[in-house]
C-alpha cells in the first residue's frame, strides 16, 4: 500500500505561546478511513487546517499523494475535499445553488460526479429548493458532504463531522463514509467521540498536540494492559477522592453512569482487596463485572501511563 498522506515532524505554535502541535509524524495509507481521536483542544483542527492548506506549519513536511502542501498547495486543493468543523455553506443559498457553486469552484459540474454523490443526494434532493440555513443538522452535514465530494477528491478531510448531530444521523453518516471508501477515496476524520473511532480502519490518538499512538482500533483494545471491571455506585464522583487512598495498583474513572476500574495486579487477589477497601470506606456498590475495554478505555489508559511516566522522569 502506498501512502496517501505523509506527515513528518510537524510543529505549530500560536502567537509564540500556545503549542498546538508538537513533533507530529504519521502516515495515512491510500484508501483507508483514518480517525484522529482526541478531546477538544487536542490539536485536531489545527492539524486539519494545515493538511487542507489553510494554515502553514512552523516546521515539518507534509505531502498528499506526493504533493507538498506548502509549495504545491494549488494542485493539492484540487485533489482534496474538506468538511470543516462548523457548517460553512451559504445559508441564504438553496441546497442546489450551494452544490452548483462549489462544483464550479472546482471547475466541475453536478452532473459530472453525480455517481459518487448519488446515495447522499437522493436523501437531500427533496429539499433542493430549500435554503441551506433552514436544513436540520443532519441534512446540513449531508449537503456539506456532497459539496466536499462534488469534484471527486482523492482525499476527504472531515473535521468532527458528527459533532452536534443526532445518533441516528450519526450512524447514517458513518455508513456513507464506508461507502465512500469503496470508491477508493482516502478518508481522514476527526472526532471527539471514542465510540465512533471503532468504525475507522486505523486511528491516531492525539492529546495536547502530541500523537499518543497509532493503531487499528482492535489492536488498541488488544494491547490494553489492565483488567477492566465495571460497577454501579451511588457516589461516582466522591469515590474519586477516596480512591487516592486505595493501596492497589489500579485506575478508577467515571464512565457515563458507571464506574470503570482497571487493575494492574493479579485480579484474583486484587478484586477481593478492592471490595474490602470499598466496604472499609463505607461505600455501597453494585456487582463488579469484568468487561472488554473500549477505545475510550484505551485512550484513558494511555494518557494515564504517559502522565505517570512524566511524573517519574520530569
Amino acid at each position: 500500500m502506498t501512502n496517501a498522506i505523509t506527515i513528518e515532524h510537524v510543529n505549530k505554535v500560536y502567537d509564540g505561546k500556545v503549542t498546538a502541535l508538537k513533533d507530529v509524524s504519521f502516515n495515512v495509507e491510500e484508501g483507508e478511513v483514518f480517525g484522529l481521536v482526541g478531546p477538544d483542544g487536542a490539536g485536531k483542527s489545527t492539524l486539519f487546517n494545515i493538511l487542507t492548506t489553510l494554515l502553514l506549519p512552523d516546521s515539518g513536511k507534509i505531502s498528499l499523494l506526493g504533493m507538498d502542501v506548502i509549495n504545491e498547495y494549488k494542485s493539492v486543493r484540487q485533489i482534496i475535499g474538506y468538511l470543516p468543523g462548523v457548517f460553512s455553506l451559504y445559508p441564504d443559498l438553496s441546497v442546489e445553488e450551494n452544490l452548483q457553486f462549489f462544483a464550479v469552484m472546482y471547475k466541475s459540474s453536478i452532473e459530472e460526479n453525480m455517481e459518487l454523490i448519488r446515495p447522499i443526494w437522493k436523501q437531500i434532493s427533496p429539499f433542493s429548493d430549500r435554503k441551506a440555513g433552514k436544513l436540520s443538522g443532519g441534512m446540513k452535514q449531508k449537503l456539506a458532504l456532497c459539496c466536499a465530494l462534488i469534484h471527486c477528491p482523492k482525499i476527504l478531510f472531515l473535521d468532527e463531522p458528527t459533532t452536534g448531530v443526532d445518533p441516528v444521523s450519526r450512524k447514517e453518516f458513518w455508513d456513507i463514509l464506508k461507502s465512500i471508501r469503496t470508491q477508493g477515496i482516502t478518508v481522514v476524520v476527526s472526532t471527539p467521540y471514542m465510540d465512533e473511532a471503532t468504525r475507522c480502519d486505523r486511528i491516531a490518538m492525539i492529546q495536547e498536540g502530541q500523537i499518543l499512538g497509532i493503531n487499528t482500533p482492535s489492536a488498541f483494545i488488544r494491547d490494553f494492559q489492565g483488567k477492566l471491571y465495571t460497577f454501579r455506585s451511588e457516589n461516582i464522583f466522591s469515590l474519586l477522592n477516596i480512591m487516592e487512598q486505595c493501596p492497589l495498583r489500579c485506575n478508577y474513572y467515571p464512565y457515563g453512569e458507571h464506574c470503570h476500574i482497571a487493575f494492574y495486579d493479579d485480579v484474583a487477589t486484587a478484586l477481593p482487596q478492592f471490595e474490602q477497601f470499598l466496604q472499609e470506606q463505607g461505600q455501597s456498590h453494585g456487582e463488579i463485572i469484568a468487561i472488554d475495554p473500549s477505545v475510550e478505555d484505551c485512550f484513558i489508559e494511555i494518557v494515564q501511563m504517559r502522565n505517570a511516566l512524566n511524573q517519574t522522569q520530569p
Partner: protein, 372 residues
Amino acid sequence: MRTILILIKKEFLQVFRNPLLIGILTVAPMVQFIIFPFCADYEIKVLHIAFIDNDHSTISQDLTHTFNASGYFISHGLVKNKKEAEKMMKHDKIDILVEFPHDFERSLYNNEPTQIAITANAINTMKAGIGTGYVQNIIGDYLNDFAQNNRPPQAPTKVSINISNVYWYNEQMNYKNLIVPGILVILVTLIGCYVTALNLVREKEIGTIEQVNVTPIRRWQFLLGKMIPFWILGISEFIIGLVIMKLVFGITVQGSIPMLLGCTAIYLLVMLGLGFFISSIADNQLQAMFIVLFLFIVFVLLSGLFTPTEGMPEWAHKINYLNPMSFFMNVIKKVVLKGTEVESLRTEFIVLSVMAVVINTGAVVSYKESSK
C-alpha cells in the same frame, strides 16, 4: 471565466435575498435624498427681533415697521431697557436686538454720524451672521432712501455705490444644488466601502471563506467575483441618484454624463478596495462597521460637503490629499454644476486611479496574509 460568473451570480442571489441589504440599498438613499437637502439649508427664514428705542422719533418708528414688512422677522416690539432685552435673549425669545440711540433722527437730519447697536445671539453662528446681515441690509436700504428724499437741493450729490451680487453656477445660491450632488457621493461611498466590507467579513464570520479557500480558486478571482457585483450596484445606484436629482430637484448635469460615470467607476474601485482592505483586518462585522464609520466621518468632514475646504488649515489640506472623497466631491460638483471639461479634471482622475491601484493591491496582499 465560468468561475467568476458563478461568483457574481452567487453574490447577486445573496444580495437580493438579504432584506436588510435591500433596505440599505433602496430606502436609505431615498430617505437621504428626500430629507437631507430640505433640512440642511443655510437660508434663515424666521428671525425673532426686538427693539430698544431711545429716540422715539418718526424715523426710528418707521424703521421698526420696515422690519415687520420684510417678512424675515417676527417682531417682539419695543423693549423698555437692555436688562429686559437680555432676559429675552437668554430665554431664546429673540435672536436679534436693535437699539436706536438718543438723537438718532436729529443726527440724520444734521448729517452727523450716529450708531445703531445690533446685538445677535451667536450660539448659532450661522443664524447670527446671516441675521445681522439682513438687519444691515434693511437699515442700509432705508437710509439710502432717506438720503435720496431729504437731500438738500443745494448739496452736492454723493456718489452712492450699489453692490449687486451674481452667483455663478448656482444662481439662486440654492443650498440644495450643493448638497444633492454631495449626497450622491455619500451614497456611492456607502455602497462601495460599507456594504463590501460587511459582506466579506460576514463570509469570515460564518466560515464560508474557509470552505472557499480550500478550493483551487485563486484569490484575485474571488475578489473580482466580489467586486464586480458591488461595482455594478454602485453604478446603478449612482444612475438612480442622477435621475432623482433631475426629477425631484430639477438639477441638470451641466457636464458630460459619460465622464461622470467614468469617474464614479474609478472612485468605486477605490472604495471597494478600501472595503476589502478593512474586511481583511477586521474579525467581525462590528469591528468592520466601526472602522468604516470612523473613516467615513473623517472623509465627509474633510470632503468639503458641509464646510468649504478652502477654510481649512494647512494640515487638513495635506490630509485631504489622501481623502478620495474630497477628489470625487470636487469632480461631481464641478461636472454637475459647472460643466467642467475632462481636461481640467485630469489631476482628480489620475489621483483616483492611482488610489484605486494602490488600495486594491494592498487589499489583495493583506487578504493573502490574513488567510495564510
